[in-house]
């Protein structure tokens, strides 16, 4: 029983990080139809910003979170204004352009911050362990879980309870009609992209103390995150949650059943098969085209 609970806790922890990475991706993909290949690099940028704030300004992880969100969000806004907005009519080229941006970001970071691994310290308060139902869990993992839950609630509220969310949903349903009603679609798109990028930045900041920070760190996360999005369905926030949880549990238990490479290959094959047979995702009953 205790072993089982331990597994569930590990799964929840992995799942919460996955959800955080996937949330921004799902938002950008679901609402704008842009597959952002640079999402992993936005995450990496968030991790490096945390490291830089930590090293040069002495800011702790908790106090840098807001700055990181704003910083990476502003960067995302610039990318949308400078590149993505020219490509809405050429979806294939958005893949190429965002891929190129990802490479540029990796190289810029490698040339400026150096290619070696960086480390971000965990906040003192969160180094303790917590006991839940008789299982000891690192406090930081609990903290990440709570933050992700809060961010998800915030995103949901933003989408469904605010004026901005209504505008966004209107543009997603029919851009032209929404524009006729006075919605500034350009502005909605750029803010959505910025928000998604900001979320990726936060994800980077939160995973920074768990893993080392390197220019290539984003790639691994973005594959899994993309899987979460595909599995969950592009326009369903709750589908994203369910699939993140599912994949978290799956990865947690698969890790000790098979070897790492085979697990990775299986995940990719699953992505391919799902895209082929259910491009709208597993948890979406009906899709309006």
């Amino acid at each position: 029983m205790e072993f089982f609970l331990q597994q569930v806790m590990t799964g929840l922890s992995i799942g919460s990080i996955l959800l955080l990475v996937a949330l921004g991706l799902a938002l950008i993909y679901g609402s704008m139809g842009v597959i952002n290949m640079a999402h992993g690099e936005f995450l990496m940028l968030g991790a490096y910003s945390t490291w830089a704030l930590n090293t040069f300004f002495g800011l702790g992880l908790l106090s840098s979170l807001v700055f990181v969100f704003l910083l990476v969000g502003a960067f995302g806004w610039a990318v949308e204004r400078g590149v993505i907005r020219f490509l809405y009519r050429r979806p294939l080229d958005t893949i190429l352009a965002t891929w190129g941006i990802g490479i540029i970001l990796q190289q810029v970071v490698r040339l400026s911050a150096g290619g070696e691994l960086r480390y971000v310290e965990m906040p003192e308060v969160l180094t303790a362990t917590v006991s839940i139902l008789g299982v000891t869990v690192p406090g930081y993992r609990v903290f990440v879980f709570v933050v992700v839950a809060a961010l998800f609630a915030l995103t949901w509220a933003l989408m469904f309870k605010t004026d901005f969310g209504r505008r966004l949903r209107a543009v997603v349903q029919d851009r032209d009609t929404a524009t006729c009603f006075g919605v500034d679609a350009d502005r909605v798109y750029s803010l959505t992209f910025a928000y998604g990028a900001g979320l990726a930045g936060l994800a980077g900041a939160l995973v920074a103390p768990l893993k080392s920070v390197s220019p290539e760190m984003g790639t691994a996360y973005v594959v899994d995150a993309f899987f979460v999005v595909v599995l969950g369905g592009v326009q369903s926030l709750f589908g994203t949650v369910v699939s993140a949880g599912l994949l978290g549990q799956l990865t947690g238990s698969l890790a000790w059943v098979t070897n790492d490479t085979v697990a990775k290959a299986l995940v990719l094959v699953a992505i391919v098969v799902i895209i082929r047979f259910r491009p709208q995702g597993l948890f979406v009953a009906k899709v309006r085209s």
């Binding site: 597959i35 590149v83 020219f86 490509l87 009519r89 050429r90 979806p91 294939l92 080229d93 958005t94 893949i95 190429l96 352009a97 891929w99 190129g100 941006i101 490479i103 540029i104 190289q107 810029v108 490698r110 040339l111 594959v223 993309f226 070897n259 490479t261 085979v262 990775k264 290959a265 990719l268 094959v269 992505i271 391919v272 895209i275 082929r276 047979f277 491009p279």
Partner: protein, 383 residues
Amino acid sequence: MTKRETSRHISRHLREGRLQIAAYAAICLAVFLVPVLVDNDFLLNRYARYLVLGMVAMSLALAWGYAGILNLGHALSFGIGSYCMAMTLKLRTVPTHTGSDGLPDFMVWNNVETLPWLWVPFHSTTFAIAAGLLAPALVAAVLGWFMFRGRVTGVFVAIITLASLVVANLLVIDMQAYTGGFNGITDLAQLSLFGITFDAYSKSTYYLVATCLTLSLFACLAVTRSKAGLILQAIRDDERRVRFFGYDVASYKVMAMAVSAAVAGLAGMLYTVVMEFASPTFLGVPLSLSIVIWCAVGGRQSLAGAMLGAIVIAAMQGALSESEAFLETWTLVMGVVFVAVVLFLPQGLAGLVEIVRARLAAARARPAEPIAPVAAPGTGERS
């Protein structure tokens, strides 16, 4: 449009076609003349390498520029071809550390007792060359059939091909006992065909590459200028309309992807001959991305454009690769150029040439005569 105008369009189209063939022939002739001017085996080996990369970029242009299939996993075909050649050349070596049956050295290190069944037919070079062409084509055809029968299009094609490449790459590295794993297959014999031994650092290998390049360039040109080539371009521009005309869209796309993969497989085989090894990086994501970049910068809708794009960029990179810092900066510059080309010059440098040529022609033509749009390069949006 009157009958006279139509016939004028057709004759103009034919004239442009002849011009294109002449230009391609001139490029190939120039490629063959290089060894006359350069008498340096080291340089010739380098140039042969660039030509091979040009060939693989050209094969991607066939699938991407003409059929609209953005194959982000094109290095998969290249890698399969390269491993096929490496396997047969490995079996031709006289190994120093062999077990029974002349096992390749890395298998001995991995405690493999007998030659795996997949390796056995590669004792024959003829089989290996056939496999290097057909295996990539078959893999691409199966993948294409899987995608296009389900009417998977656009970005999802890109994602699926990319994911397939990563899976293959993981498996090749993981199955160390059969593929040489991370190190690839090294210490190869030299290829012997028709009594000629192709030393990587010699004119013979350069001419082999140049000949294959010429043949495949004109084969691809023939495909694009055939009726099937026209249908492929129509599919690229509006798949649904072509389907409504009663064409079997999926079969045409599968065909385009398979032909493109076979040419890439040929390029992969030559790459092994030129580099004298095969490595998992030959079917890695970075190479696949480079192929896409070469193609985009050179001009995705021009076979020669994509080829020259690859040759020029790879040559510039080769010239800079002396220094690590230069190379890092180079990657950065390439990223910027790539994004800029995607944004502002979707037809690449070849498109730029076309624009300039059209302007010149317009300036020369009588003002009363409108410019015929028939043979103008594709404009506007692709999906």
